[in-house]
C-alpha cells in the first residue's frame, strides 16, 4: 500500500452507498395554482455523481416531492424534452452528469446545483415552459423540402459532398436550448431565434431544395437573421454540438450574395 496512513482504521466493511455523494439541488419552483410568485427550493439528496441531473430530478420527484414538474422522455439526449438552465447554463438534464458540474469535498457538493426553466418563454409550472411560440417560429421558416416539376420515379440524386454540406443542421432536436440562451430572444420574443434559423439553413443548403429564396426572404425580415449579434451563446448551449452561430452567419452570407 502506497498510502497506508490514509487507510481507514476501523474494521467495518465499506458501506453499500459509499460511492454516493451529498448534493443540494436548488430548484426554481412556480405553480400559479398555489402562489403568484416563483421561489427557490433546496433539496439535499444522496446520489451517485455519475448519474444525470435528470436522475436527480426524478429522485427528488419520486422520493421527496411528487409535485416537482418537468418534461422528459428519452433520457439520453435525443428527444429534446428536458432543456433547462443548470448552474446558469442551458443544457439537457439527461446529458449532464452531476460529477461534471459539481465541486466535491469529502463527498459533499461544495455549492448547490441550480436548476431553473429556460429563459424567454413563459413559465407554466416549475421547469415547464410554453413551447408554442418556439414551434411557431420553426413553422414560419417553411421547414420542409420545396421542389418544382415532376417527382423522379427513383430517389433524387445527391452527392456525398452535397449531403455533407447541411449535415450539421440536420442534427437539431428542437429542444430550444439555443433560442432560450440568446439575449436578443430574451429582450424581444419576436426574433425568430437560432433554432428556427438552423432549420431554415438545413433546407437552404440542401442541394435538392428549391425554396431558398422564399426562406431567405422570410429571414430578411426585421425579426430575422440580422437581429443576431453573434454572441455565440447558442453554439455553447447546443447539446447536439451544432455550430449554430456559424449556420446563422452562413444564412446572412447567402442573403448578401444572393442574386434576384
Amino acid at each position: 500500500m502506497a498510502t497506508p496512513t490514509l487507510e481507514k482504521t476501523s474494521g467495518t466493511a465499506p458501506s453499500a452507498d459509499e460511492h454516493l455523494v451529498t448534493v443540494t439541488f436548488r430548484i426554481r419552483r412556480f405553480n400559479p395554482e398555489e402562489a403568484a410568485e416563483a421561489f427557490w427550493q433546496d433539496f439535499e439528496i444522496r446520489i451517485d455523481p455519475k448519474e444525470r441531473v435528470l436522475d436527480a430530478l426524478h429522485q427528488i420527484k419520486w422520493e421527496l416531492d411528487g409535485t416537482l414538474t418537468f418534461r422528459r422522455s428519452c433520457a439520453h439526449g435525443i428527444c429534446g424534452s428536458d432543456a433547462m438552465r443548470i448552474n446558469g447554463k442551458n443544457r439537457l438534464a439527461c446529458k449532464t452528469l452531476i460529477k461534471d458540474i459539481v465541486g466535491l469535498k469529502n463527498g459533499v457538493g461544495t455549492k448547490p446545483i441550480s436548476v431553473e426553466p429556460i429563459k424567454g418563454l413563459t413559465v407554466l409550472k416549475d421547469l415547464v415552459v410554453d413551447m408554442d411560440p418556439f414551434f411557431q417560429a420553426y413553422r414560419d421558416v417553411m421547414p420542409f423540402l420545396i421542389t418544382k416539376g415532376n417527382e423522379p420515379t427513383r430517389e433524387r440524386l445527391q452527392s456525398a459532398a452535397d449531403r455533407e454540406r447541411f449535415d450539421d443542421t440536420t442534427k437539431c432536436i428542437l429542444c430550444a436550448a439555443c433560442t432560450s440562451s440568446c439575449p436578443v430572444f430574451w429582450s424581444d420574443g419576436q426574433y425568430f431565434g437560432p433554432a428556427a434559423i438552423v432549420n431554415a439553413h438545413r433546407f437552404i443548403f440542401d442541394s435538392r431544395d428549391e425554396g431558398a429564396e422564399q426562406r431567405l426572404e422570410i429571414l430578411n425580415d426585421r425579426d430575422g437573421v440580422w437581429r443576431c449579434r453573434t454572441v455565440f451563446n447558442c453554439t455553447d448551449a447546443c447539446p447536439r454540438g451544432i455550430e449554430v452561430t456559424k449556420a446563422i452567419q452562413e444564412v446572412k452570407q447567402a442573403l448578401i450574395t444572393r442574386r434576384f
Partner: protein, 584 residues
C-alpha cells in the same frame, strides 16, 4: 369537459402516427392527439436504418427480404403481411427521400445501404446491405422529416393530450368506434373526441422492464385502453431484448455498429458469436445474439468484476468511419461511460427494446375484435399494433419500415372509411371511466407510492420475464404482479393540482404497465415452447405442432367484478415458406 368532432383522430405523433396523419389530413378532417410534442417521440431514438431491397449497392430483392423477415420472426410472422412489408419498403424509402429525408449517399449519389442483423442474400447465404440510413440517426431523421411534412400539410395537433380511453358503442349488436377520451396535461381538463375513425399509433410498452432502451413515456397507453374495452392483445409474450444496450443504463447502441464491423467479445477477448452463429456471426438475429451474450455471462465469461456484461469492440474500425457512420453512439459512450470508443471497448448488456405483440390488426390496419372480426372505424399501426410482420422476433430496421408502411396504410384506410361512415352515438357519460380514475387518484389517501410499485414491477420483470424464462420464474412474476396490483388500489399522488400534473399521469401510466405486464406473463406461461424472443429453459425447442399460432389475450370480468385473462389462439398465415430450423 369539452367535446370535439373530427372525421379521423390519430392517437400518437411518432413515426406511425405522423405517417398516418400525412395521408389522413389530405383525405379527411383529422386531429392528432399526442402526449408529447410530436418531435419528442421515441421513433427519434432509432438509429441504424430502415430496410428496403433497393439493391443500390448489391444484388437484392423483396422476396429475400420477405424470407429474412419470416425466418427472423421464427415463422410466427403472417407471411402475407411480411410480403407487403418487403414490397412496399421500396416505395416507402423513396417517399421519405422525396419528402426530404437526408439519407447517406453512395458515390453515385444514390441512397447508401449497410448490413444489419438477420438480413441476408439469397435466403441466408451471407449478410446483405439492405438498411437505408442516415448515419446512426435514421429514426431522428424520419421523425423530423415526417413532422416537417405534417407542417407542410397543415396537420392539426393537440399536444400534451393523453388519451386514456377508447369509446366504443354497440350499434345493431356490433361494437363500433365512437371516439376517445383525452386528458389535457396543461389544464387537467377532459376532452371527448368524437371521430368516425380512430388510429392508435401510441407506441410501445417497454417501461415495465428496468434495463430498457425505451423512453420513460413508453407505457402502453394504447394497448391498455383497447384491452380494457374488451379487445384482444396478440403475442404479448414476445418482447425483444436488443443485444447492445449500454451496461446498466440500457441506452441503445445500434446494431449498425456491428453492421459497420463491430465485434462482440467476452472477457477472454474471444469473438464468441462465431460459436453460436457461424455464418452471420455478430449479425445473427437479435434474440440469438442476446441469448448468446447471457450464455457467456452465465458460464463465467462475462466482463467486469461481477462478470455481468460483455464488450462491443469498435477499436479496429478507423476513427473516420466511426465519426461518419456512428457519431451519436460513440458520443453516448463518451458522455455516459467516459469511454473513448476509438481505443476502448464499450461494456454492453441486452436491453428491453421492442414489443412484437400488440393490438391485432389486418394488413389494412383495421383492428380485430377476435380472430377475424373487424371493429368498424378502429385502426392501429406501429409498435402498438401486431399485424403481425415481426412474429416472435423483429429484425433490426424492420420497425422504421413498419411504421412507414403500415402507418401510411392505416392513415389511408381510416380516412377512406371516415369518408363513407357516419358518426356513432357516444356511449352515455363517455368520460366516466377517465374522470373516475383521475378523481380516485387525486383524492386517494392510500399509502402506496407509484415509484415504489413501479420499481418493484421492473425488478420482477427483469428477474423473471426477460431473456430466459421458466414456468417457475413466470409464476413468481405473476404472483408479484398480483400483489402489486392489489397495492396499486391504495396508490395516492402528492400533486393534487390540475395544472401539468405529471405525478397523476405517472400513476395512471403505472396502471397501464401493470395491466400489460400481467398479459405478457400469462401469455408466456401458456406458451410451453421456445420461439424467437420467447425462450423457455424448461421447453428449449420450438414446437410447431402445438404452438405455431398467435396468442390472443382477452380481459374478462366476472359478475363480482373480478378480472382475469382468457387466452385464445389464432392461426398463422403461411404462404410460400414452410417452417425450417433456424440457423444463422
Amino acid at each position: 369537459m369539452q367535446i370535439h368532432k373530427y372525421d379521423t383522430v390519430i392517437v400518437g405523433a411518432g413515426g406511425a402516427g405522423m405517417r398516418a396523419a400525412i395521408e389522413a389530413t389530405k383525405r379527411s378532417r383529422t386531429a392528432v392527439l399526442t402526449k408529447l410534442y410530436p418531435t419528442r417521440s421515441h421513433t427519434g431514438a432509432a438509429q441504424g436504418g430502415m430496410a428496403a431491397a433497393l439493391a443500390n449497392v448489391e444484388d437484392d430483392n423483396w422476396e429475400w427480404h420477405t424470407f429474412d423477415t419470416v425466418k427472423g420472426g421464427d415463422y410466427l410472422v403472417d407471411q402475407d403481411a411480411a410480403e407487403i412489408l418487403a414490397k412496399e419498403a421500396i416505395d416507402s424509402v423513396l417517399d421519405l427521400e422525396k419528402m426530404g429525408l437526408p439519407f447517406n449517399r453512395t458515390p453515385e449519389g444514390r441512397i447508401d445501404q449497410r448490413r444489419f442483423g438477420g438480413h441476408s442474400r439469397n435466403h441466408g447465404e451471407a449478410p446483405v446491405r439492405r438498411s437505408c440510413y442516415a448515419a446512426d440517426r435514421t429514426g431522428h431523421m424520419i421523425l423530423q422529416t415526417l413532422y416537417q411534412n405534417c407542417v407542410k400539410e397543415g396537420v392539426e395537433f393537440y399536444n400534451e393530450f393523453y388519451v386514456l380511453d377508447l369509446l366504443l358503442s354497440e350499434v345493431d349488436g356490433v361494437k363500433r368506434t365512437a371516439g376517445v377520451v383525452a386528458y389535457e396535461l396543461a389544464t387537467g381538463e377532459l376532452h371527448v373526441f368524437r371521430a368516425k375513425a380512430v388510429v392508435f399509433a401510441s407506441g410501445g410498452n417497454g417501461k415495465f422492464y428496468k434495463v430498457t432502451s425505451n423512453a420513460h413515456t413508453l407505457t402502453g397507453d394504447g394497448q391498455a385502453a383497447a384491452f380494457r374495452r374488451g379487445l384482444p392483445l396478440e403475442d404479448m409474450e414476445f418482447f425483444q431484448f436488443h443485444p447492445t444496450g449500454i451496461w446498466k443504463m440500457g441506452i441503445l447502441l445500434t446494431e449498425g455498429a456491428r453492421g459497420e464491423g463491430g465485434i462482440l467479445r467476452n472477457k477472454d477477448g474471444e469473438r464468441f458469436m462465431e460459436k453460436y452463429a457461424p455464418v452471420m456471426k455478430d449479425l445473427a438475429s437479435r434474440d440469438v445474439v442476446s441469448r448468446s451474450i447471457y450464455t457467456e455471462i452465465r458460464e463465467g465469461r462475462g466482463c467486469g468484476p461481477d462478470g455481468d456484461h460483455v464488450y462491443l469492440d469498435l477499436t479496429h474500425l478507423p476513427p473516420e468511419q466511426l465519426d461518419a457512420k456512428l457519431p451519436d453512439i460513440t458520443e453516448f459512450a463518451r458522455t455516459y461511460l467516459g469511454i473513448e470508443p476509438y481505443t476502448d471497448p464499450i461494456p454492453i448488456q441486452p436491453t428491453a427494446h421492442y414489443a412484437m405483440g400488440g393490438i391485432p390488426t389486418n394488413v389494412r390496419g383495421e383492428v380485430l375484435a377476435d380472430n377475424t372480426t373487424v371493429v368498424p372505424g378502429l385502426y392501429a399501426a406501429g409498435e402498438v399494433a401486431c399485424v403481425s410482420v415481426h412474429g416472435a422476433n423483429r429484425l433490426g430496421t424492420n420497425s422504421l419500415l413498419d411504421i412507414n408502411v403500415f402507418g401510411r396504410r392505416a392513415g389511408i384506410a381510416a380516412a377512406e372509411y371516415a369518408a363513407t361512415a357516419d358518426f356513432v352515438e357516444l356511449p352515455p357519460e363517455p368520460e366516466r371511466f377517465v374522470s373516475t380514475e383521475v378523481e380516485r387518484m387525486r383524492n386517494s389517501t392510500g399509502e402506496e407510492r407509484v415509484p415504489v410499485l413501479r420499481k418493484a414491477l421492473q425488478e420482477t420483470m427483469d428477474k423473471n420475464a426477460m431473456v430466459f424464462r421458466t414456468e417457475q420464474t413466470l409464476k413468481e412474476a405473476l404472483e408479484d404482479i398480483a400483489e402489486l396490483r392489489a397495492r396499486y388500489r391504495n396508490v395516492s399522488v402528492q400533486d393534487k393540482g390540475r395544472r401539468f400534473n405529471t405525478d397523476l399521469l405517472e400513476a395512471l401510466e403505472l396502471g397501464n404497465l401493470l395491466e400489460l405486464a400481467e398479459v405478457l406473463v400469462v401469455s408466456a406461461l401458456a406458451r410451453n415452447e421456445s420461439r424467437g424472443g420467447h425462450y423457455r429453459e424448461d421447453y428449449p425447442n420450438r414446437d410447431d405442432v402445438n404452438f405455431m399460432r398467435h396468442t390472443m389475450a382477452y380481459r374478462e370480468v366476472d359478475a363480482d367484478g373480478n378480472q382475469s385473462i382468457r387466452l385464445d389462439y389464432k392461426p398463422v398465415v403461411q404462404t410460400r415458406y414452410q417452417p425450417m430450423e433456424r440457423k444463422y
